[in-house]
């Protein structure tokens, strides 16, 4: 094969540069739009080769440095002679267009020239740690053109932005191209864009919206102002998408939000007839949703809204309570209790209504859940006509669960109501009080067979258990279980009677045995029972001893029911009465007429109870006994006679005994339990902490007990003193405010 040595003629610098100039000139002509054919591959390679050769020649003809400098000078020359003059003679939008064109041209020029001079990039710049060709080219533009004009350009751009804000059409593509220059000229950094444009744009935007806001806040209603704000924010976001750099979005949005929504937050929300309060009052759900959307993104923006919401709900709740209170004082007793039940229903409705607000308008935000909760906690703990909310709620449950209470409602509706009632319980601080009232009423329903539906009874206990824990419902569940066991027990009793006919008392006797711990405490005192009943007691006792040893039966006659057949003149009628009432009536089997004192002595009852009994039999709806004198109330000097003329349409009638007001007793019992609970809490805390300051002990105590009730601070202090005398705690000798646990 042939062997050549590559011999080239040395190219002189001037000679070589002259050749390059032809290429540069051609390029300039193309950029200026003059008629000039494009480069062809030959020309390209020639230009490239010229540079290559001049760089690979042996010294002193190695012209890399000179060519590097001349490369830059080519741009500088062009910029000074052509580019800058063209830009300086134009203004505003025309200047922007010229700039975009010149920048675009410049980039083309850099692209071409850097390809021709490319060999310099390969070795020379690295060897001398110099900026590469691309950077040199862009830097020229930056230093000569951009630095001179950027401020003027920025002003022109901002003027157009404000023009667009006022509703005029502008050339968005132009602005995008201009702002791209700021970005590109930064050569990888956003500094130029941020310092030379963005910061001014943000200031201008802030003052623009500040002006707008100050007039809108005077003229517009709250909903209108919010609509405008929402629209402005939308438009500004669009602006970013169309021509600003995406990094400007959060900054711009923050500025606009600040001027429109933060500065005037108070004035906006508190507007007299259209502010937050008014919107809540008028159920303006859409406007409230908008308010949430707008303030949600602002730090601490929702707090005032949540506050107003809380105040509003509290006011509505208080109004309902007041309404019930007013009705109670103005009307008779029974309509008052109806009003109280109506109150609970209305409170449930109120809760449902505003929960929808929380979930939908306020997107389930915790601040609003909290506001709703706090509002309810305020008015749900108010007393109405002497009844605590705990009692009202327990009565409400009783009305749903008892026979004749809510048979008109579907199972689903009942379940739903029970669910809501349990939710309301969360707001009541005296949960233990509710539990006690509920237990009392549950007992009555179970023992007098007044429960409408077993499933509902169990269902509400499950719900209560879920919400308040097992301990809350354990006694109640025990009560329900007792009833089930009692039924089984009754079957055994009847079997026993079947096997021991001699033991049969001759009366159909049903006995319910209660487990003491589960049931409310009942007074029981030994009334002198009629003989028939005494036998019943004996027989059952006999049976019970066959089943269990070591258990004592205490009979609670006040809870018993008796069916008596009354032989009246017209027709016999079955009377359903309490055991006590029966005991009174049976006295008249042997005597026609008895005085109050007679009855009192024979039965050995208290005055209070006897008056009640006699009243129910002689002064109420059914007058089984005739009272002398026939006044409306029973006095100790009265006498009573069997009313043989008594009759009624029905064959069987129930003679009710008005229940004793249990409220006082319940409150007493609960107070007693609370004392024990406080004691236990104090001891538990001190046992684990050993030493604790007074304030801390009290506050921890409150926290521990808060699940069931809100303890009175005085009561806690009293219990602490009591525990000190009982040697559970002692005061520190040096610091009387510190307490120590005594093991």
């Amino acid at each position: 094969s042939l062997s050549f040595k590559m011999e080239r003629k040395t190219i002189d610098l001037d000679q070589g540069w002259d050749y390059m100039q032809t290429g540069i000139t051609k390029l300039k002509r193309i950029l200026e739009g003059l008629p000039e054919p494009q480069f062809d591959s030959e020309q390209y390679m020639m230009l490239y080769t010229t540079i290559y050769n001049m760089c690979t020649q042996k010294p002193p003809h190695d012209y890399s440095q000179q060519l590097y400098d001349k490369y830059r000078e080519a741009f500088e020359e062009y910029i000074h002679s052509t580019v800058l003059p063209a830009l300086r003679e134009k203004h505003d939008e025309y200047m922007l267009r010229e700039l975009v064109k010149r920048w675009s041209n410049h980039k083309v020029m850099v692209r071409w020239l850097s390809r021709f001079f490319y060999y310099l990039d390969r070795y020379f710049i690295a060897r001398r740690s110099l900026p590469p060709l691309n950077e040199v080219g862009l830097t020229c533009f930056r230093d000569l053109v951009y630095n001179e004009l950027h401020s003027k350009v920025k002003d022109a751009v901002i003027a157009l932005v404000d023009k667009e804000r006022e509703g005029e059409q502008i050339d968005r593509a132009l602005l995008k191209n201009v702002l791209d220059i700021y970005v590109e000229i930064g050569m990888g950094q956003m500094e130029r864009y941020e310092e030379d444009f963005e910061s001014f744009m943000l200031l201008d935007s802030a003052s623009y919206y500040s002006r707008k806001a100050s007039s809108w806040i005077q003229e517009d209603s709250c909903p209108d102002y919010m609509l405008k704000s929402e629209e402005c924010l939308k438009k500004e976001r669009e602006r970013v998408a169309h021509y600003l750099h995406s990094s400007s979005e959060p900054k711009l949005v923050e500025k606009v939000q600040h001027e429109l929504l933060v500065v005037y937050a108070n004035q906006l929300l508190e507007k007299e007839h259209s502010g937050c309060r008014a919107l809540l009052r008028d159920d303006k759900v859409d406007d409230l949703s908008r308010m949430y959307r707008l303030y949600h993104k602002i730090v601490k923006g929702l707090e005032p809204v949540a506050n107003i919401f809380k105040q509003h709900v509290t006011a509505e709740g208080n109004a309902l309570v007041q309404q019930a209170e007013d009705t109670a004082t103005n009307h008779a007793a029974n309509t008052a209790s109806v009003q109280e039940q109506v109150l609970i229903r209305k409170v449930i409705e109120l809760h449902d209504k505003y929960m929808v607000y929380v979930v939908e308008c306020f997107q389930n935000h915790t601040l609003f859940h909290k506001a709703l909760k706090e509002a309810f906690e305020i008015f749900c703990n108010k007393t109405v006509a002497g009844s605590s909310s705990a009692e009202l709620l327990a009565t409400f449950c009783d009305n749903i669960l008892k026979k004749g209470g809510s048979e008109k409602l579907s199972d689903e509706a009942i379940e739903d109501t029970l669910e809501k009632v349990v939710k309301l319980l969360a707001y009541i601080s005296d949960k233990d009080l509710f539990a006690e009232f509920y237990r009392k009423k549950l007992a009555r329903r179970l023992l007098f067979d007044r429960s409408a539906n077993d499933d509902h009874e169990r269902s509400i206990l499950t719900k209560l258990k879920q919400q308040c824990g097992g301990q809350f419902t354990s006694k109640m569940e025990g009560m329900v279980t007792d009833l089930t066991l009692a039924r089984e027990n009754q079957n055994s009793f009847e079997e026993y009677l079947g096997n021991n006919p001699a033991a049969n008392p001759g009366i159909d006797l049903t006995v319910t045995v209660l487990t003491t711990g589960f049931w409310p405490s009942y007074k029981s005192f030994d009334i002198n029972l009629p003989a028939e009943m005494v036998k019943c007691v004996e027989v059952f006792k006999g049976f019970y001893e066959t089943k269990t040893k070591h258990r004592k039966l205490t009979w609670i006659y006040s809870l018993g029911t008796c069916h008596l057949n009354g032989k009246f003149d017209t027709k016999p009628i079955e009377l359903v009465v309490s055991t006590y009432q029966a005991a009174v009536l049976l006295l008249f089997n042997t005597t026609d007429k008895l005085s109050y004192t007679d009855i009192l002595t024979q039965l050995n009852l208290s005055h209070e109870d006897l008056v009640r009994l006699l009243h129910s039999l002689s002064c109420a709806r059914y007058k089984i006994l005739l009272k002398e004198p026939s006044t409306k109330t029973v006095s100790q000097s009265d006498s009573f006679e069997f009313n043989s003329k008594f009759t009624d349409r029905m064959r069987r009638i129930k003679i009710p005994l008005p229940p004793v007001d249990e409220r006082k007793k319940v409150v007493e019992d609960v107070d007693k339990d609370r004392r024990y609970a406080i004691d236990a809490a104090i001891v538990r805390i001190m046992k684990s902490r050993k030493v604790l300051g007074h304030q801390q002990l009290v506050s921890e105590c409150v926290e521990q007990l808060s699940r069931m009730f809100k303890p009175d601070i005085k009561a806690i202090k009293k219990r602490m003193e009591d525990l000190i005398t009982r040697d559970y705690l002692e005061r520190d000798k040096e610091n009387p405010n510190m307490f120590r646990y005594l093991a």
């Binding site: 094969s1 042939l2 062997s3 050549f4 040595k5 590559m6 080239r8 193309i30 054919p37 494009q38 480069f39 062809d40 591959s41 030959e42 390209y44 390679m45 490239y48 080769t49 290559y52 690979t56 083309v108 692209r111 071409w112 390809r115 490319y118 390969r122």
Partner: protein, 125 residues
């Protein structure tokens, strides 16, 4: 294994410069081949893809603006001999095959080494 010249490369040896190519109607068609002409006037018509192994040629072919039809993709190398240019064309194809997984040896005659290196530098290959 010795490298054998691919069927695709054609060496057309002529004393004069290349034939004028017929002007086509569609201006922006991507040429599939390029023509490299050595200092002696030998024309090597190779695939565009092969030619682009050279960064220099690649830069030229991907320059904005495009080239005039008649001279597109035709490059004369007054400083590169036919032998070297031929070797370079072979190298282009070998390089493509190698990158596709066919790992063979590329044999260089010792006497060509220096000129080949210089040409490679020039062509940024």
């Amino acid at each position: 294994m010795r490298f054998s010249v691919s069927k695709k490369s054609r060496a057309v040896a002529k004393a004069d410069a290349g034939r004028e190519r017929r002007r086509r109607r569609r201006r922006k068609k991507m040429r599939e081949t390029v023509k490299l002409i050595s200092m002696e006037g030998f024309e090597f018509v190779i695939d565009r893809e092969a030619a682009m192994v050279s960064q220099t040629i690649r830069s030229m072919l991907t320059s904005p603006g495009g080239f005039s039809e008649s001279k597109e993709g035709v490059v004369t190398f007054p400083d590169i001999s036919t032998t070297i240019l031929e070797k370079i064309c072979q190298y282009f194809y070998w390089s493509i095959q190698y990158s596709r997984g066919k790992e063979t040896e590329f044999h260089i005659e010792p006497e060509l080494t220096l000129e080949l290196m210089m040409a490679a530098n020039y062509l940024h290959t």
